[in-house]
Point group: C2
Chain length 197, copies 2
Amino acid sequence: MYDGIVQDLIDEFGRLPGIGPKSAQRIAFHILQTPTFDVTRLSHLLGELRERVRFCEICGNVSEQERCAICRDPRRDATFICVVEDAKDVAAIERTREFRGLYHVLGGAISPIAGVGPDDLRIAQLMQRLADGTVTEVILATNPNLEGEATATYLSRLLTALEIRVTRLASGLPVGGDLEYADEVTLGRAFEGRRQL
Amino acid sequence: MYDGIVQDLIDEFGRLPGIGPKSAQRIAFHILQTPTFDVTRLSHLLGELRERVRFCEICGNVSEQERCAICRDPRRDATFICVVEDAKDVAAIERTREFRGLYHVLGGAISPIAGVGPDDLRIAQLMQRLADGTVTEVILATNPNLEGEATATYLSRLLTALEIRVTRLASGLPVGGDLEYADEVTLGRAFEGRRQL
């Protein structure tokens, strides 16, 4: 629709997740028409990203060093490991400021449909971290969906052999949500997990 | 929340229109974790964009040459000029394949609140284009909102001095829309502009 490079850039932005053709067009024109937008900086960051970012050799979180900022931090409680599917989940949990232990990023969840088995995840590395007896509790924080639940079940069976407390994040109604709009599975879980006040 | 460059890139994407922090995070991780995504290409396009793209010296549309593809095309009907606010509007109208004339991009609309007056728009250039008598109809296709209407009214008054037909795009119900959900102004316009069948 546009001449050369404008359309090329729109197409390229359109390949990113969550950006449709309209948004891509809006972004391209924003960059073109906003003199204060630092194109060089975005361009430079994109170029550097893959070169500088690696994954923490211990937990698998994103990091610019061999070990991530959390694994390097001596104030973190090394007796807790929270197991998550993705590095994005680490960031989400960190934002709550509820957890002061360490993480382990699996790199996905077990999914027969997508052809992801236990061997495709960082499970061997997790078992290795648990071998020296430092860790006393493993919190399974995989997603509350089919794949995440399957992964949590698989891991909890694997971990019963070790003398480690294995817990799972609570399911229930989202805070600030409306009971009326909760799906039946969530509402059922909220009943199951009800607590005495 | 993340180490260095990952967060820098998330922040940078977050500065683009329509991208919130969650989307920005998703995009950064997509780029990081999708080996097939061509980072170099996006980075290169961003760098080239402002250097290569200029605005057509005749109509103000985006172009990589002094004159845009539409102004260069001898098959376009030079007796019609469609006046739009933005280069994005040119692309929108081109997609309809309804119009075979030329365009004139104003670069915005009159808006006392935003401090945009007639002198800030490419109105003098429009008058210059109309001077030689080639153009027989000017179609005012500014947005159907307050600023767009004010701009259309201003232009139509300015053009009455010349012997040129001045028209305005029809307002009415969007095709495929639901009458029930139309706002009263649109519905009112649809009545005003009703046609005999």
